[in-house]
Assembly symmetry: C3
């Protein structure tokens, strides 16, 4: 990863954005400083950690390059202390978050390809890398994961992961270009969804005796 | 597993039943289509995945045979689109679910035996295979796992896993027969419990300062 | 571990204390007997199990020495049956819990050192070993993990894990003494926090549109 330094830079940017969103969730729930740091940390690193557990690549990436851990905690601490002064970053955070989403998807699906997973598995690893941290954040905040309820978020990841798989298996596009194209697809889809308030069809609730 | 095609057929039937119950939970919470598919998927495959993680058998079974993944998503999609028309399947679903329970238990405990786990561990792996998917479903739906609160569900799994362990260690019954007997025990216990509304003793709540 | 029999004894004491706290949480939520045993079990063994998954040391410790499993279930069963008669143990439980906390931290960080993890990773493994079981207990009880919200609990673990790492890397103190010193630090910090009602700074909640 380290020689692909552009991807690494995007990865760190995404990690910082995810940590900020986790820390904000902790602040909203009036957690103490430990809770806020912890929520920032799991949001930023939980997806990649779960991916590595599932691939059997242990210890997970965060223990091989502790940069991710220190960065997540530093960002969460800054949010804890300065969240009122950082209010002006709320709008750009949406963009950083989209960049993180795209980067995490291609890292996850790319790694799954190296582990020879099939189509479904490879796409799933991209989605897990990008969304599982946020799901753990929501579980720890005691609410239904946002990703299951609204907006074109996980589906942008699905599309990007599928694109990377297809480019990798059926074209001779060099790997870095395939990564870039797929990450861009996720980012653009996600930002269009935010801009135009796209949403997915939802089931009408049914009432049952359970 | 593939040459034991009867067990494999039961396994797929159970997977489909668990996916349907997960998808229905998602519909009840008014999730979008991604949420419904995702909940169907984790309910059907989460137990076996957690078992494989604990055994260190990675990547988990779903990545070696993607049939489980495609089947879960197809069933969940059918439930999402047709849940009103499929209402007549609600009653049979209890039976399919019981078949899945029995099958998952013997697959889990059987695999733990192959990994030389002790009695407690082997029974636990059967229970985890059969119930952890439903627990993850309930966590993601933000409620206390049903399996912890009511009915003879996990305890039927305990009984079946223990029976398989004992048959395997202390009798010369051929393995397929031991599997069949233990799975049947789970299914029968579970259906009797549904029929006669059996339940387990429950603690009186205590009030504390926590 | 077995030749360090003093540490092993403390480990079992901590396991019993954590199982009791898990079982009590299950009783408070009016779970059935299976739910109460299960909650006792995951509270007592979930942290070490997650640590072993993250380190890739599978199957986790509980499957190599089933003592932990039987002890957790026995304690949880005693709590289920006798929780009114055992009321007099509520106060001492705080002390046993603190002993468990200190012991679990040094076992977790100590194992991470053996796996050559860095500073952040090693401290994290101590914290995870000591607190993840309680977090799973709270997730299964459908509430925000206590450890994220109040009291000097996880931070005592952080301090003890960091102390052990520093003693191990930068001093020639024999390992058993380093373990003892670090565990004692956790226990003393934790009991002082209980005694004097210490708490960590908390963020003011912010209101957002999410």
């Amino acid at each position: 990863m380290h020689n692909m330094s552009f991807l690494y830079a995007l990865d760190l940017l995404g990690t910082a954005a995810f940590a900020a969103s986790g820390a904000l969730a902790g602040i909203r729930r009036e957690m103490d400083i430990f809770g806020v740091l912890m929520l920032g940390l799991v949001t930023a690193t939980g997806g990649g950690t779960l991916r590595d557990l599932l691939l059997g690549d242990t210890p997970p990436f965060i223990f091989n390059d502790e940069t991710y851990l220190y960065l997540s905690v530093a960002v969460s601490l800054a949010v804890f202390i300065l969240h009122r002064q950082l209010e002006f970053l709320r709008h750009p955070l949406t963009y950083f978050d989209a960049v993180g989403l795209g980067t995490f998807v291609v890292i996850g699906t790319g790694k799954a390809l190296a582990f020879k997973l099939g189509f479904f598995g490879a796409v799933m690893m991209g989605v897990i890398t990008a969304t599982a941290g946020g799901m753990i954040r929501d579980l720890l905040s005691n609410r239904v994961p946002l990703v299951l309820q609204k907006e074109v978020y996980a589906s942008a990841c699905l599309a990007g992961g599928a694109l990377l798989y297809l480019l990798h298996q059926y074209t001779s596009l060099p790997h870095p270009w395939a990564l870039l194209a797929s990450a861009s697809a996720v980012i653009i889809l996600r930002l269009l969804a935010v801009q135009y308030n796209w949403s997915l069809p939802r089931a009408e609730a049914i009432t049952t005796h359970d």
